[in-house]
Every structure is written in C-alpha cells, then in structure tokens.
Amino acid sequence: MLVSRRDFIKGLVGGLIVGAVAGAGAVYVAGPRREEVKPPEVGARIPTTPLKVGLQYMTKGGGAAWGDPTYKGARLAIEEINAAGGILGRRLEFVERDEAGADATKAEFEKLITIDKIDVHFCCISSGNTPALAPIAEEYRVLTFFADGCTDILFEKVVPNPRFTFRITNIQSADGVTAALGAIKFFNLMEKDKVRVAHIHPDYAYGRNAYQHIQVVFEKVLGKDRVEIVYEGWPKLFGVTDFGPFITSILASGADVLATSLWAADWINFYKQALGYGLFKKVKVVSTISHGIAPHMVGSDYPDGQIAGVHANYYFLYPEHESYPLNRDFVRRYYERWGEYPTNGSEGAYVSVYLYKSAVERAYQALGRWPEPEEVIPFLEGASILGPAGILSIRARPPNKHQGYKNAITGISRVDPKLGFSIVADPLRIPIERVTVPEGWEGPTEPTMTYNWIKATWREGVLPI
C-alpha cells in the first residue's frame, strides 16, 4: 500500500508549516525575559495575598519516622506565625507534597513551582533529594530551605555557588565526626590496643558519608594501625526488612564496635532484630542518628550505653530547660500541638521558617516594600538566629556557602523511667568549628572537604575535644 507522493508531501508540508507557526508563537509567548526588579509601587508595598509556602517532607514510607516530625516542626512555625499576624501581615498558606525517591520528589517540586506557584519552599530530609532539587530551585529562582538532606556534596560539588538554596541542619560530615568522637570518649577507645570496627550503613549518600567520616576520625585519633575494619554492610535504604543475615555476619566478624547510620524504619527494624540475636551484648554500637526520630519511638527495649546520635543537631532535652526558656517553651508548645516531643528535624524545620521570616522582615526594613526572592538572599547570608537548639548561623562564603551551622551534640542511650523511653543522656556538646571545615579553607572536595581538612590538619593521636 503505497502513499502517493503528493499526499505525503502535502502532509509533511502541512505539518511543518503548522509546526513552524506554533514554534514561533511559542517562542514569543515563552521567550526570554530580562531580569526586572520592579520599582516600588506607591500604596502596594506589601501584597495582601497570602504567601504560598511549599512543604515537602517524607511523611510516608520508611522515612516517615523522620520526615513526619520534621513536617510537624514546620507546621508549628507556620501556625505560630499566622497566629501572630503572618509575615509583614501576609498569611502563610502551605501546599504539601510527599518526599520520596529523587525522581518523584523532583517532579513534585517542579509541579509545586509551576502549577501551585509557591513563593518559598521548605523541604527535604533525604540526602538523595537535596542535590536533586537544588538545581531546580536555582533554575526557577525559588527560595528553598532544606531542613535536612545534609550531604556535604550539595554545596561542595552540586551547587558550589548557591543563590536560592539554603540548608539549616548541620552538615552531614559533622554527624560522622561527632559520633566517632563520642565513641572514642565514651568507650575509652584510646586505651585499647586494637579496635575492630564493623560498619552497616544504608547504601546512598548519607551512609557513605557517615562511613567515611567515622573512619577518618578513628584512624586519625586512634592511629591507623589500631583500627581494623572487620565488616561492611550496605543495605538499600528502606529496602531490607529482614536484617538477620547482616546481624549474623556482624557477630561472626568479631567486631568490638558497630558503626552505623541506619535511620528511621531501618534502624528500628535493625535494633529490634538485633536484640533477638544478642548483638548488643557483644558489640558496642555507635549510631549517628538512632535517637533522631520522635523520642518516644526509641522504646524502653533500647539497650543502654550505646552512642545515641541525634544527627549532631538537637535533642529535645538540651539545652536544659531550666536554663534555656526558648527550648523549654518550644518543647512545650510542640508537645501541646502534636502530642509528642520534637526531634532535631522538627527544630530544624521550625527554625528554617523563622529564619526566612526574619530575613524578609529585615529586607523590608531596608527596601521599604516586600522583597523579591533575590533581595532576601543578602539578609540570609551570614545571618544568625537564636533557636531552641541554640544559635544557628548561615555561612556566607565557601566552602559550604548557605549551609547552617550550630554546635554538635551526641550522648549515651539510657532508658528514662519517668518518660518511659530511651533518651540521650550525658550529652557531649562539641563546638561546630571543631568538627567541620571552616570558611575560607581550600582543599580537595573528594570525598568531602571536611574529610580532607581532618586528614590535613588534625593531629595524630590527639582527641580534639
């Protein structure tokens, strides 16, 4: 069945003409726009329409144990701000979407920007997602505050010169470093002849980062010849429900210490199953993040005496409530609102919203009108804000420009009889300057700058705290 040439050409030409017209029209409609900062209009200094706020945290799936409290922290901030009149009188209206795998999270983010037209975005707990979303935020020029997703590569490699993206909770390398320092101190590792270390981490950015930094600190402070890696396990994030084989291998390896960054559902599964195998009787566990979920979820069956990491950020009991009303009141309000205690994610998201508010208000004072997104940026860089965890400051210069910094914290797990769950006791507070690469330092970025900074500048055999 042959098509006659005439018909073919007719069809082709017709299609091309229509296509060309459409294309020209399209370029006209969506053509390049020059950046315009609109001059202030008299009488319209602050829009009266609500401010559209995007919220995207893992509230479903394996990460929900983490994402849900983070989400609640942001919601609490939004509700408090609205009750007090909003930001410069503008009400905050939030649009929420789920955070999942990088693909889906990115797609939802793009929809929030293009379809829901959000003005500002608060999101993300997974380190797989922040590097994926940041370029999109920069392309669309939407101010985005990451509560977590703290991977070093974000501002060291993916977006080394960020404009619109900021991140609030401590950088990931701080996690591993803090946990390792805590382990050395609490388990007296410096006294031991040999330390056999087993590792189990989720197979993605966060897990690898934890592994690298725990190792580099162990090797630096204890000495390379004293540290031996006897096992490494890399389960897929939220992809394993039966940790039996891993637990057995760890026990068989004869490890003294188990270093882990398994979190949320993975950690709950692991520790419960590990209890059944008697793991905690044979091995001391160093976790970067075990107590970072909603505090009551770390049940009274959790063994005492393990390093109880909180993502090096915040645990609701510290700073102690008696001496620090800001934390006391935050915890109280959060508990009244949600019926549970806040996590470091809650605090981070909470502070991120207030940080934005404070920057917008200061920009308004300088400009006399509601600021465009790019005008808020200078009021965020180098800014500090007092939060329930203490002081948070946003770095203005590389490395890790736009990263938030606060002092790091870890401790020992202990079941509190009054509260009925395992808490972080004997807090070890470390000034953040001791555990992370400082502003202005230059060096290789592989695997992270903090890693290389430790290798280059820390003294062998010395515990720097």
Binding site: T59, F238, T241, G244, A252, N269, G276, Y277
Partner: protein, 296 residues
C-alpha cells in the same frame, strides 16, 4: 565458624520462598497464568498477622506462646483466602486463555492496587509484631545466638512441603493437579478442570503465600515495597526451578536462597545481579528449569 548459622538462614529464607513459589507454580501450572500479584498476598498475610497479633491477640491473651503461634496464623490465612476470593480469583479466572500480555498487565495492575491498599489500610509506616520472635527465645549455636523461631519456621514449612508432596502424589486431588498441569485441554475434556477445581487451586496457592507472610512477620517488619522484593526473587526461583512444577518450587527456593546467602557473604554488592544472571543462565541452558519437567 558461622557456617551452621548461614545454613539455617538459607533454609529459613528458602522456606518462605517455597511457600510463594509453590503457589506461583500451582497457578501457572494449572491455569497457565502468570500472576505478578502473588507476592502481594504474602505481604497481605504479613500485615494481617502483625495487626491481628498486636491488636487482637496480645491485648486479650497477653504473650501466651501457643496463642501467638496458632491464632494470628490461622486468622491471617483466612483473611488472605477471603481477599483472594474477592479480588484475585475472579481476575485470574478471567485472564485464563487471554494471552501472556493480558495476564502480565492485569496482574501488574493488581499488584499496584494492592500496594496502595496496604498504604490505605495500614498506613505508610512499617508494621511489625516481634512478640513471637522474642517469646520463643534463642539457643546457642557455635557460640552465636540463633532464634528458636526460625527453627520453628523451617520445621513447619518442611512439614507443609511433605504434606503437599503427599497430596500431589498420593491423593486423587493431586492426580488431578498433575494431570491438569500437564495437559489442560485433555483435563478439561475429561471433565476435570472444573470451575470449582480451579478456584480451589487458586485458594490453595493464595493460602500458601499468605502463610509465608504470616511466618515472615515475627522476624522482620513489613512495609510498602516488600511485595516487589519477594516477587522478583520468587520469579527467579520459579524460573530456575521449573515453571509450574512442585519439585521446581522446592529446588528453586533452595537454589535461590543458597545463592543469595553466598553472595551476601562473598560479594554483597552484587546480590541482586547474581540472582538474575543465574536466572538467565538457567533459562538458556535448561528452559524447563533444573527441577521441573512437565507440569506439577
């Protein structure tokens, strides 16, 4: 040093796989339908058991060992059978004879429906019920602790496999099973492949899968995505063992489980890859499978 533990773990995992693959093979052998949603019944069994244990059994009967062993299992399997009759059976019967593409797509649709049903009913958080696991305690093997519960599962499944063997080779029903799977047309002509018979087959297969889930939950937790995790491995086992064959289910589950344990010890990075590679190799070398032959 840890060898006995690895062997036991292999047997444990292969027990679960056997329960899934046996069902898959029953359905494929007798109805010639590929059921991508089969592992979803495994997951449903796990969810149901967890829920029954924590909401119904423990509040009323405490941590009574016998109650924990028997009741959640039985109730969960009944639930799975009901769900299968309602959702799965009609679809599988309709898919019969409509071609591979139809079956694959329709059961794929069913698979994702189940995933969301789990989310709807039990929420997105992982669900667990470790009670029985802890109740049964552990014994020492080669200096390492091993849960008694896993022994129990291995034993129970072995008995079940024997029972299934007995039914297949020593009963009239088993004769019909074998005949139907070897030559469905002839079986229909002889009046054997009745509607009722086929429904019984599907129910049996579903019950086995649900039982697998019920046995799985005390040692682990169940969450979204478990279905696909087990489905793909079960498929590999099905292919390696032999499509539609009872012996194939036994052989396939053992081989796949052993491979998995081996790769986990030696080269954990490639755990996933090795399984599929072996499946491809077996498909090339002996497409009817290592254990299988003709039908059930």
């Amino acid at each position: 040093m840890a060898l006995p533990i690895y062997v036991l773990d292999t047997l444990f995992y292969s027990s679960l796989l056997f329960l899934i693959i046996a069902g898959l093979n029953l359905i494929y052998g007798i109805l010639r339908v590929v059921n991508l949603a089969h592992a979803s019944l495994f997951t449903f069994g796990a969810y149901a058991t967890a829920w029954i244990t924590t909401s119904l059994i423990v509040p009323r009967l405490g941590e009574n060992l016998l109650a924990l062993m028997v009741l959640p299992l039985v109730l969960a399997v009944i639930l799975v059978i009901l769900v299968s009759l309602a959702l799965v059976t009609p679809l599988l019967r309709y898919s019969q004879g409509r071609g591979d593409a139809f079956q694959l797509i329709v059961t794929f649709g069913l698979l994702i429906i189940f995933e969301d049903l789990f989310k709807l009913i039990w929420g997105p958080h992982p669900v667990s019920a470790y009670n029985l696991f802890f109740q049964m305690g552990f014994i020492d093997i080669a200096g390492l602790r091993y849960p008694v519960y896993k022994f129990y599962v291995i034993l129970l499944t072995a008995i079940l496999a024997l029972a299934l063997w007995y039914v297949t080779y020593r009963t009239a029903f088993g004769l019909v099973l074998r005949a139907s799977s070897m030559d469905p047309h002839m079986a229909t002509a002889l009046g054997l492949n009745t509607s009722r018979f086929l429904v019984i087959v599907i129910v049996l297969a579903s019950a086995l899968a649900g039982l697998g889930g019920a046995l799985y939950i005390p040692v682990a937790s169940v969450q979204l995505g478990v279905s696909t995790e087990f489905l793909v491995i079960a498929f590999v086992g099905m292919v390696i063992g032999g499509l539609g064959s009872f012996i194939g289910a036994v052989v396939g589950s053992l081989i796949v489980s052993s491979l998995r344990t081996l790769t986990l010890i030696v080269f954990p990075e490639l755990e996933l890859v090795v399984l599929y590679l072996v499946a491809v190799i077996v498909l090339l070398w002996k497409p009817e499978g290592i254990g299988g032959g003709r039908g059930w």
